[in-house]
């Protein structure tokens, strides 16, 4: 049956067709698959690994899920445009270090320092976005350069020294748990997910981001200022990366230059893994905010399970690489399916 047939016949039975497409959408949705996989993983690990369900274990898994979700969301916000941002890690660390400096050296109050640090991240994103949009060069090479520049400046200014004198509230937030097992960082990341969902669903800007990402030419002709919208996407990425950096600061109680590895490269894998697993299209125009959360959850649940099974920490890295491979292969299959249905 060709797509046009569907629509022609559906005239007579709109309800049935709607339900069918809803069922279809649910069955093909990556969220649904992820929930199943998460449930499966939890059942297996909980029944075979005694330590898995201990409150502390659940707390630490949740905390890491929260952080990885934020890193994933940061990348997702720019994947929307069909581009990418290699400098998320560098922006995250730079913002965290800026926050550390404000707390330790500049004596700025905590509740002013947090928004300033997030703004700082957004500002770095603005630089990326402006150069990408103005030059027309692909975001890969621009953010490769900016990753090196941001990180280099940060190390130069900080002399690679960590800021450890944090207000107690910072570490307190990192340690906070609800009901003895739910990390505050996890709850916070779910709140951010809700805010981002609202952005994409309920605001003009969010809709314009999706439209410009899916088909920039059509969006431009329809009156969307795609250049500005793309810059806004990069700024959002910067802000979310800054939040992720602050969350890590809260977890460790210090802003450490090496918290994302050399040049912030260590964030790249979680940054792509969660959104791609969650069903964000790499070609742009479609996001999966809670999918990203579920993707991060699946990754961390499996990682923790494997760690408890005494699979070496390093082999888990290789496993994550394989997982990214599996995720993009699924993404490709989904893309093909959409294509066959004439949606792309």
């Amino acid at each position: 049956m060709t797509p046009s047939d569907t629509t022609n016949t559906s005239d007579a039975m709109p309800v049935a067709a709607d339900r069918q497409s809803l069922m279809q959408r649910l069955a093909f949705s990556s969220e649904f698959g992820l929930v199943l996989l998460i449930a499966l993983a939890v059942v297996i690990f909980a029944s075979t690994l005694p330590g898995f369900t201990s409150p502390f274990s659940l707390f630490t898994i949740g905390r890491q899920i929260g952080i990885d979700t934020m890193i994933g969301l940061a990348m997702m916000a720019v994947i929307v445009t069909g581009g990418l941002d290699l400098s998320v890690g560098a922006i995250g660390v730079c913002s965290a270090m800026a926050f550390g400096w404000m707390m330790e050296s500049a004596g700025i109050p905590l509740y002013l320092g947090i928004p300033l640090a997030v703004l700082f991240g957004a500002g770095l994103g603005l630089l990326n976005g402006a150069v990408v949009v103005r030059s027309g060069v692909h975001s890969f090479i621009i953010t490769l350069a900016s990753m090196s520049i941001f990180f280099g400046i940060m190390i130069f200014l900080s002399q690679a020294q960590a800021f450890r004198a944090m207000p107690p509230e910072v570490l307190g937030f990192g340690k906070m748990r609800f009901g003895g097992l739910v990390s505050a960082l996890l709850v916070f990341s779910i709140v951010v997910c809700a805010v981002l969902s609202a952005l994409y669903r309920f605001t003009s800007l969010g809709r314009q981001m999706l439209a410009a990402g899916a088909n920039p030419r059509a969006a431009e002709i329809s009156g969307v200022r795609t250049g500005r919208v793309f810059i806004a996407c990069h700024m959002l990425t910067g802000a979310l990366a800054a939040i992720a950096g602050l969350m890590i600061t809260a977890r460790t109680g210090a802003a450490v230059p090496s918290m994302a590895g050399h040049l912030g490269q260590d964030w790249l894998l979680p940054a792509f893994l969660a959104p791609v697993l969650g069903g964000t299209l790499l070609s742009g125009g479609r996001v999966a905010v809670f999918g990203t959360f579920l993707g991060a959850a699946l990754v961390n649940i499996i990682t923790s399970g494997l760690l408890l099974m005494r699979v070496g920490e390093f082999w888990i890295q290789a496993f994550l690489g394989l997982m990214l491979l599996a995720a993009v292969l699924t993404d490709r299959a989904r893309h093909k399916l959409l294509q066959r249905q004439g949606m792309i």
């Binding site: 060709t2 629509t7 003009s204 088909n215 002709i221 125009g285």
Partner: protein, 504 residues
């Protein structure tokens, strides 16, 4: 004598569209054949079948009397069918010789390339083509015309006895075309069968012997000798007679001041001396063959190409429209693109996501807050009015039929309440019922006071809908005619404008 290439009663359908219906074509050795047809007539589908990109549903392709099954472009090449595509298929930084010989750089991957042999081989072809350049030069330094010749050389060097040229003169100057024609003539005399696709009618009378015209996926004529035909005959075959003489009475002439006026407009896209005006409540047709610069003019009005001279007046005020966003949000100008997939709609998103895109900014509450329901409230009357058939407003756009897609791409501008709507080829790829409906809709819009600029190459459509017709050719305005719905008279005047040689 058997035909060098015979396409016999080929049919091809795509979901929802019958692209080719029983089409035939014969190319004979040593002659130049013209393949003509307006956009959407099926030319490109036919070329894709001959070059192995599409497989026909029905019918056969014969080379030298033998049936061939072409599964991919490689096989077409092996069967001796060479193509020069409209888009350049050269490696820009490679030398001319290397581009010509790309298939034969060596036997296997580790072969060492013999550049001397390659240059000698390539030079032979350049000589045949009268191309007097060093074959070691990178093709990126050649003019478009020279690149074209290199591609022809490349095709010939593969022992092609049939050569298809898809609009080879589209970006050539008159002199460059002359050179090309001389080469083509020479090739034909050497026994190559040539098929020449073009929109420039003068050219076919200059070099072609036979002609095939396609219209709506059918043969309007099949391999007919051009001798004895005049330009008007060919044009008539291309655009056809009116399927129905319009029943509409001429509408009262609006006397309001023009909403949009161009005075001596020129653009970076190549327009010059364009002057026209469209009033509220008026439907101004913009007629011209493909390549006349009409869609480009629409984009110029939207501010997407730079204006280099002249004035643009909106509601009497000289303005400078900087972007499509400006055009929509400041001046209420909308554009229904002819390219629905690339420029009109976001197929990946829902009907709601498409129909609302023009109004999001306007209807959003503070902080850009915008609920689906607000968009639905604002757009569903329009969707209902246009009878868009969709199972749900959340249906993915790509799942709708062509006609309904087109309705949505018009609906989004009506929802935005534009004062001027530019509609580019509204009936490409849609069924007759929707087409008639769209025509009524355009009239209705005009009756409500919208200024409409209608771009179409479909003469009956133009005569059915427009009040007044501006004729374009070569990125210029050639003339203007009042549409009194006298098909014979108006179409004659239009064709006269188009083919009137520029007084040089």
């Amino acid at each position: 004598m058997t035909a060098a290439l015979l396409v016999s009663q080929v049919s091809k359908s795509f979901p929802g569209v019958r692209a080719l219906d029983d089409v035939s074509l014969t190319l004979s050795v040593g002659s130049i054949h013209a393949l003509l047809g307006e956009n959407g007539a099926g030319k490109s589908t036919l070329i894709k079948i001959i070059t192995g990109i599409h497989k026909p549903d029905k019918g056969e392709v014969l080379v030298n009397g033998t049936v061939v099954h072409l599964a991919n472009p490689r096989q077409a090449g092996a069967a001796g069918i060479g193509v020069v595509h409209q888009e350049r298929n050269l490696i820009p930084r490679f030398s001319i010789a290397e581009n010509i010989m790309l298939e034969r750089l060596g036997q296997h991957d580790l072969s060492v390339i013999n550049y001397d042999h390659m240059h000698a081989e390539a030079a032979k072809w350049l000589k045949l083509l009268d191309l007097d350049v060093d074959c070691r030069m990178p093709v990126s330094r050649l003019s478009v015309a020279q690149m074209q010749l290199v591609e022809i050389g490349k095709a010939l060097s593969l022992q092609s006895r049939v050569l298809l040229l898809d609009e080879p003169t589209a970006s050539l100057t008159e002199n460059e075309s002359k050179v090309l024609f001389r080469v083509l003539r020479k090739l034909a005399d050497d026994g190559v069968a040539l098929c020449f696709v073009t929109h420039k009618l003068e050219e076919i009378f200059e070099i072609c012997e036979t002609v095939t015209v396609l219209r709506d996926g059918r043969n309007a004529c099949e391999s007919q000798p051009l001798k004895g035909l005049v330009r008007a005959d060919v044009v008539k075959m291309m655009i056809g007679r009116a399927e129905r003489i319009s029943q509409r009475a001429p509408r009262p002439k609006p006397d309001a001041a023009p909403y949009l006026e161009l005075q001596g407009y020129a653009s970076a896209a190549g327009h010059s001396k364009i002057s026209l005006a469209v009033r509220p409540g008026e439907i101004l047709g913009l007629y011209g063959l493909v390549g006349a610069g009409r869609s480009e003019l629409a984009k110029g009005i939207l501010g997407m190409t730079r204006r280099t001279a002249g004035e643009v007046l909106v509601a009497g005020q000289p303005t400078n429209i900087g972007s499509a966003a400006d055009a929509l949000h400041r001046h209420g100008i909308g554009y229904v693109s002819e390219d629905r997939k690339q420029e009109g709609l976001i197929l990946l998103h829902s009907v709601l996501g498409n129909v609302g895109i023009t109004v999001w900014r306007k209807i959003a509450a503070s902080f850009g807050f915008l609920r689906d329901q607000t968009v639905i409230d604002h757009t569903s009357p329009v969707l209902r009015q246009l009878e868009v058939k969709t199972p749900s407003i959340h249906q993915i756009m790509g799942n709708l039929s062509g006609g309904n897609q087109q309705k949505v791409s018009v609906a989004k501008w009506i929802a935005a309440d534009v004062k001027l709507l530019i509609i580019d080829e509204p009936s490409v790829g849609i069924d007759i019922k929707t087409k008639a409906y769209l025509h009524d809709l355009i009239h209705e819009l005009a009756a409500q006071g919208t200024a409409v600029l209608l771009i179409t190459s479909d003469m009956p459509e133009m005569l059915d809908v427009a009040d007044r017709i501006v004729v374009m050719a070569g990125f210029e305005v050639r003339g203007e005619v009042e549409n009194d719905r006298n098909y014979e008279r108006v179409s004659r005047v239009i064709m006269g404008y188009i083919h009137e040689r520029k007084a040089a």
